[in-house]
Structure formats: C-alpha cells, structure tokens
C-alpha cells in the first residue's frame, strides 16, 4: 500500500465519524521502490491531499525525512520539494502491516502490499 492510497482511505466501520486518517501499525515490512519522478502528477495530486495526514503517515513509517509540516508555497516550481513528495506518495510501500481505525480500533490487515478493507457481516 502506497501512502497516496493511504491518504485517501478512511474507516467505514458502522457508526464511526472520525475514521480518518487510518493509523498504520505493525508495519513489519516496508519497501522503498524506485518510481519515475513525474512532477506534473505530483503537482496535480498535492491539492487533493490531506497534507498533515501524509506527513503523519510518513512519520509512522520512519520515512518522513525532511518533509515539512506545512505545504511549501509555490511548490509547482520547487523540484526538490516535489521529489520529496513523490517519494512518500509513490515510492514508499507498506508490504506487511495493518491499518487501524482511530475511533473503533478495528484493524484492516495489509498483506503482500494489499490492504483488506472487508468488514464482517455484523460490522456493516
């Protein structure tokens, strides 16, 4: 699971109102792949992101490096900054771990890089 995806996921456990962002726990296997840097895509995605959730998730994985607390102004022209964002969005990948709902504590496992968001019959 990449952090771009994590940034868009929320807990859908019945009754939960504060299910975002999901906490990344027990990340026993995390990979950092090399993915072609595409500044246009990163620039397009930044306005759609919840920035603090991204920074927090990167921190949870020990992959934050020097990602700032706040978005840098005029980031469209800041290649250095865009490369940092690109790295945490697309290159960092949780292979084994789980996503925990911050309100209910319910955990969604991630195995082989794939999250399982299925709820049981009684949770729906």
């Amino acid at each position: 699971m990449k952090l771009l995806t994590h940034n868009m996921l929320t807990s859908h456990v019945k009754g939960v109102t504060k299910g975002y962002p999901l906490l990344i726990k027990q990340a026993t296997e995390v990979k950092v792949n090399e993915v072609d840097f595409n500044p246009q895509f990163v620039t397009r995605m930044i306005p759609k992101l919840e920035w603090s959730a991204l920074v927090h998730a990167a921190e949870e994985l020990g992959q934050r490096q020097d990602l700032p607390d706040e978005l840098v102004p005029e980031y469209e022209n800041n290649e250095e900054f865009l490369k940092k964002v690109h790295r945490v969005l697309l290159e960092v990948e949780v292979i084994e771990g789980c996503l925990r709902c911050p309100e209910s504590g319910r955990e969604f496992p991630i195995s082989r890089g794939i999250p399982n968001m299925l709820l049981n019959e009684d949770e729906v």
């Binding site: 868009m8 759609k48 794939i114 999250p115 399982n116 968001m117 019959e121 729906v124």
Partner: protein, 444 residues
C-alpha cells in the same frame, strides 16, 4: 455528399459525440475548411454508425492526428481531396479541389505512392494498376517510391457491407492523402490471450481501450476501478499514462491466487496478478494500489479524488454478484457503467415480467451529479446484450443527492443483486447453451 455529423455511437439520449470528446482532448487553434475521411473497422458495429466511411469537416489535421493516436475503432484517416459515386464524378470532384491545397504534397523533389483499397471486394492486380494509372491526371511532380514515400495517397472504393451481395461497380469512391492510422495494433498487442494474468471475465483488449477513450483517460490522471478483477481496464488506462488503482471483493483475484482461468493450467503462477499485467506492458510505473474491498461500502474519504472511474461490474453469470452484509437491502451504486438488459425468449415469463425485463432508457442508473454522455449497446447473444454507459460529473454532491437514486423507479425490476443471473440461467435450459461455454478470451 455523405457528411455525417451525427453520433459515432448509437445514442438515443445524447447528441454529444464520442468524436467530439476525443477532439476536445486535442488542442486545436486552427480550423481548416478541409474535409477528412475516417475509415472505421468492421467490429463493435453496434457502437458505430452503419457505414465504415465517415466524412468530417470543421477540424484541423492536428485534431485528426490526435484522434487517431487514441482510436481503436478507426483504421485510417485521410485528407479528402475528392469523392463521387463513379470514377467520372471523382475526377470532376478532384479537378475542383484547390491546387494550392494539393501542391505542398506534390513537390518535384518529394516521393509518393498511390494505394488502392477496395472494401468488400477483391481486385485483380492488373485492375489496381489501371486505377492507379488513371489518377495520373493529377499534378504529381514527385517520384514514385513504393518503399518509404513521403506522401501516401489512397483511392478507396466502397462496395458496401454485404459480402454475399458484392456489386460490380463501387457504391462510392474517395481519394485522399493518408494522414494517420489508428491504434488497432493495441488490440493485438494487448490481447487477453497473451496476458500473464487473466480471469473468467477479463475484458477484451479492444473494448477496454474504447472504455478508456470514453472516459477521456489522459496522462497524469488518477483512475479507479471498483470491480477491478484482473485489471484489464487498468491495463488500458495505464497505456494512456494514467495512474491506476482498483478494488475487488474477491481476495484470490486481487492476490493472484487460486485456480487458473486457462484451460491448460490448474493453478495461477507466482507472477500472476494485476501489477504483473502492468509490468508485462511496461506500465508498472502507473500502478498505485489494489485492495480487497466491497465497492458498495466506500472506503474513500469524501473528496474529488479520481479523474475517472471505469469499471465492468459483475453481471451475476460467470461470477455471481456478492456483497458483504444482509441480503435485505437493494441499493445499487450509481457509478455502475454496465447496466444489464435482456429480451426474454421463454414464454414462461408473465407479461408483467416481460415489460419490466425489456430494456428502456429509464433503467439507466441516474445520479443528479452525473450527466449521461453515451449509451452503447453491445449484443452478446440472441437474448442478451450489455451497455456501455458513460457519464460525466457536472456538480459536486450534496447530502441529499446521495439518496436520490434509491427513489428512482428504475431500480424496482432488480429484486436482489442476482436477479439477472436467475433470469439468464432460467432461459438457458431452453437453448443448447453454447453461448455460456464461450469465454471472453474466445470472443476476441
């Protein structure tokens, strides 16, 4: 002059054409008064105007090239210089074509060749040569080069579409300068037959590219498939340089495990999954994520996250429809792109069932935030067809909108998510059942 400004796809609802949306993607600042001829392939006929020849004007060459860089339905595009019902009419037409439009391509130091294409008829070699020679009245000043000419001119003769009734003389003749070929090679290069990871319901390559085009998938888009299966639609989208993600309720399909869909293979191999499919075509860079999830229980936070949602939901035949939770609720996601329809053949149906089973436009799922762009029917068998529905988001959702579709009468014929499955199989006993054993792979 057959100038067809109607819809490329049969759409009884919208006037907006697929071609229009494709040219909207092409930036064009100059509109010439030149005419262009598209030659369309003889497949997906339900999606197309009856004739394989389509004349267009009000476009620039850049627009045409742009469309051809995406289309898997169009074989070739030409700058139309002349046309007519007979060779005599063609000649007259060509003689009145402005010479200043011809001369840039007829220069002394340039090379050219003339091709003759006859549709629905085979011509003897000698007859081809005769026709090429007959075009020499045009002011060609360059030299003929058969191997790699700078300019290619084509004489196209239309002998109709009925192979059992080929006329002696062509119904219509066109002459023009070749501009570009379409992307039909993608159908072969991305054939499901050669794909590493397939399932029982993998979408055939041609149609997956058509769907990506309907959704105007562009470079740097983020695309989502909520019923991703083996990722066929994502493969097509990644080819157009969009970043892709998907989900499916089936754990084994998402993880690439379990029984193989190939007849000579029992179990899936280690490199059989969606990511591997993208890797096969060199687009692994576009892979974002897939997950195991129930599309009817959204897991995304409420924001405009995706540029396009492209999907082929289960019909309940080869894969039965499933959902988590109680079977009591009947809601359907408004993002469904394929809506079931069929014409029942069995007389065991009650009259009221027949009226609700027959397709009507009211059955197309509606949502106040989505505008219907096109509705293309594809016949699958004597008693079933499916529709490719394309909708465009026109406004952001507000609280009340999300409940709007439940009140819609179009949902009442579908009692339970396996209703279509039951009707499909109940009719099967009356026929020999040949269609059912065909796989999507064979359908290519």
């Amino acid at each position: 002059m057959r100038s067809l400004s109607g819809t490329l796809f049969h759409s009884s609802v919208s006037n907006r054409t697929y071609f229009e949306s494709a040219t909207n993607m092409a930036t064009s600042h100059s509109r010439s008064c030149l005419q262009y001829l598209l030659h369309l392939a003889q497949d997906n006929l339900d999606f197309r105007l009856p004739s394989p020849f389509w004349c267009l004007d009000g476009l620039s060459e850049e627009d045409v090239s742009s469309v051809m860089s995406r289309s898997v339905c169009a074989k070739s595009a030409f700058e139309l210089w002349g046309h007519g019902k007979t060779h005599s009419e063609l000649r007259t037409s060509l003689l009145s074509y402005p010479s200043e439009n011809m001369s840039p391509f007829m220069q002394k130091d340039s090379t050219y060749r003339i091709n003759v294409y006859t549709f629905n008829k085979t011509l003897e070699f000698a007859d081809r040569i005769k026709r090429i020679d007959a075009m020499e009245f045009l002011p060609f000043e360059g030299t003929v080069s058969l191997k790699s000419p700078q300019h290619c001119f084509c004489l196209l003769e239309d002998y109709g579409t009925d192979p059992n009734n080929i006329p002696e003389h062509p119904n219509y003749i066109y002459f023009g300068r070749w501009i570009a070929d379409g992307q039909r090679e993608l159908i072969r290069s991305h054939s499901v037959k050669n794909r590493h990871f397939i399932g029982n319901t993998s979408m055939e390559s041609g149609l997956s590219f058509i769907m990506a085009n309907h959704a105007k998938v562009s470079e740097n888009d983020l695309v989502f498939d909520p019923f991703v299966g083996t990722g066929s639609l994502l493969v097509a989208c990644s080819h157009f340089r969009a970043y892709v993600c998907g989900m499916d309720i089936d754990y084994n399909t998402i993880h690439g495990r379990g029984r193989s869909s190939r007849k000579d293979q029992k179990w899936r191999g280690p490199d059989e999954n969606i990511r591997a499919n993208l890797r096969q075509y060199g687009t692994e860079e576009m892979y974002v994520d897939v997950m195991v999830s129930d599309a009817s229980k959204p897991v995304w936070r409420k924001a405009a996250l995706f540029d396009a949602i492209i999907t082929d939901p289960p019909y309940g035949i080869r894969e039965s429809t499933r959902r988590t939770g109680s079977h009591k609720d009947v809601t359907r996601s408004p993002d469904v792109f394929y809506a079931e329809s069929h014409v029942p053949v069995s007389q065991a149906y009650h009259l009221s069932d027949i009226f609700t089973d027959l397709y009507s436009e009211e059955m197309v799922p509606l949502h106040p935030c989505l505008r219907l762009i096109s509705n293309c029917e594809q016949t699958l068998s004597s008693h079933t067809s499916r529709r490719l529905i394309t909708m465009e988001k026109i406004k952001n959702p507000e609280e009340l909108d999300s409940l709007a579709h439940l009140a819609d009468p179009c949902f009442s014929p579908y009692q339970g998510h396996n209703a279509f499955r039951e009707k499909y199989f109940s009719g099967q006993n009356k026929r020999c059942g040949k269609e059912d054993s065909k796989t999507v792979v064979n359908g290519e």
